[in-house]
Amino acid sequence: MPIAARDFRELRLESMSRTFGSINALKGVTLNVQRGEFIALLGPSGCGKSTALNCLAGLLTLSGGSIWLDATRIDRLAPEARGFGMVFQNYALFPHMSVRRNIGFGLSMQGVPNDKISRKVDEALSIVRLGDQGDKLPGQLSGGQQQRVAIARAIVIEPPLVLMDEPLSNLDAKLRLEMRAEIRRIHELIGSATIYVTHDQGEALSLADRIVVMRAGEVRQVGTPEELYLRPAHADVAEFMGYRNQLRVRATRADKLVNVNVGGVSLPATPVDGVDEGEVIAAIRPDDLAVSATGSIASTVESAQYHGHSFYCSGRTDDGTELYFQSDRRVSKGEIVRLTADPGRVLVYSRATA
């Protein structure tokens, strides 16, 4: 029997809160997860994403709010009763058990007969492509292999939900890219819902169906990767998603757009959260700020780092504003370049929500 996730339609997190003494780690997180979705919880360290995951798993009790699996309330259940699979950041493989026994552990806890366990373990091993490592001890495996065993152990019990806590953060860069593809492939094969915690926006963008950006215990934005990449809802989300230019400027209304004053030059820009005048933050991705002979902003180059296909540069305008931009050709320190940006790619946010 192939491994496929159990039936459920929806996981509902309703105002999940968790405090540690006086620290408010989670402040009312609400989210709906559909069957088969890949959700990434993204945010800087301390934003509460791991706390949220641990509450989902049952390793932490909720201080407030509730968790529902379809019509069943599950936040009062012990972790062993929830039936979710979890992949830990440090893998947490039982060091005294072979790979096969590790993977089959959840099944033996359920009282599944041994021959059935053996078949399912074989299947799980082939899904994670570790077929011949079954009898080894975890200590004899490489980091990437341990990672796969941890994943196999979580999926073999056919959970409705798989929780992953920064599973790739301990691997080297090349392995991380390989495993990203593997994780997505396994997710689609099994058909379970996956909630994936990470601080790496590249991982989130490439893996998730929807991304939940968190900060200081709150959800700042939920959206598809495209939405988050192209239209972050707040300035802090924009900054986290790579909008490195966070310019504190003045805006004036101009038809459907606004004009912002950057480096003494008036630049048309797109308002995002309804703001139209006053002190704002203009967020621009460095790759959207292009060097062009007809550009309106003059900037003196301060540094230029070679990155192969382009140069990552920083420069300063006449009035001292620091800008980060990219250039296709080499620029030298002290050179004056002219920059331009498409109005649709200059996003304006009110300062209050920053």
Binding site: L59, L60, R76, L77, A78, P79
Partner: protein, 280 residues
């Protein structure tokens, strides 16, 4: 973890806590008995003594020559602490920083006096000491107590030294410090808390160390714990109040140092620092 405990689990937990509670209660009651008896005039066939007095302390002080005994105890303990530091800390440094051939053997050598119980090696040791005329006086007692203490200091200090990044020492050398100044300005200040912890532990252990002193001490070189033993041994069936007064004085001396030690050291280290090395 987020669980609601079952009745069975709650019962089991209660039973365990009850065990711990009974253990501690009995222990405290035992200590209390000693203390109360030392202050009692007469205590027979009742929950508490008839009346309270402090004369037993005076009587114990004189009867057991506690003044001399205390001086001897502190001289012995002081010598043991000092010498075990002088021998042990450099050895620990060598073992922590150098991986020479035979290192495992040396570590085993230092483990043995701690793992082998004092009686087993104490009798042959006492024999040798008496033969070299060191037995029966202070030097013999100090030497005997040093045997488990030096390795103890070594094994306690090794992890402390390993914690100091060797690159700090390298940096000091790069900036011109010779070995002497390296020790004085870099290593000893960084090690000070560790050395203090180790020495406090040695101090506390040596005050309570019975068998070794018992086998090597003469009349003028008994430590407090040995004097206490003799007092109880000679007392017969019923321990007298003055013996209890002496016991209270003994308890105070150990506990004072224990309290000081606990400010710097986690209680488990008194027991486990060494055993971690044994297990590793």
């Amino acid at each position: 973890m987020a669980t609601e405990k079952s009745i069975g689990e709650r019962l089991w937990a209660t039973a365990i806590w009850a065990l711990v509670f009974i253990f501690i209660l009995n222990f405290i009651a035992m200590v209390a008995t000693v203390v109360i008896n030392s202050f009692g005039t007469r205590w027979f066939n009742a929950w508490l003594p008839a009346a309270f007095t402090t004369r037993w302390y005076e009587s114990a002080w004189n009867e057991f020559q506690l003044h001399d005994v205390l001086i001897v105890t502190f001289e012995v303990v002081g010598a043991v602490v000092l010498l075990s530091a002088l021998l042990g800390v450099p050895a620990a440094y060598a073992l922590a920083r150098r991986n020479f051939p035979g290192k495992q053997l040396v570590i085993l050598l230092f483990l043995l006096p701690i793992l082998v119980p004092p009686i087993t090696f104490g009798i042959p040791l006492a024999t040798v000491l008496y033969q070299t005329h060191l037995g029966g006086n202070m030097s013999g007692v100090v030497l005997a107590n040093l045997v488990p203490s030096v390795p103890f200091v070594v094994l306690v200090m090794i992890p402390f030294i390993e914690q100091i990044d060797p690159r700090i020492e390298a940096a000091a050398r790069v900036f011109g410090a010779g070995t002497g100044r390296l020790f004085m300005y870099v290593i000893l200040p960084l090690l000070a808390p560790g050395i203090l912890a180790a020495l406090l532990l040695v101090l506390v252990r040596t005050i309570a160390m019975f068998e070794l002193t018992f086998f090597t001490a003469g009349p003028g070189s008994q430590t407090l714990v040995v004097a206490l033993y003799y007092a109880v041994y000679a007392a017969g069936v019923r321990a007298g109040q003055s013996i209890d007064a002496m016991a209270v004085i003994y308890m105070l001396t150990t506990l004072v140092w224990l309290l000081i030690a606990l400010r710097f050291v986690d209680p488990t280290q008194i027991v486990t620092r060494v055993k971690r090395e044994a297990a590793a």
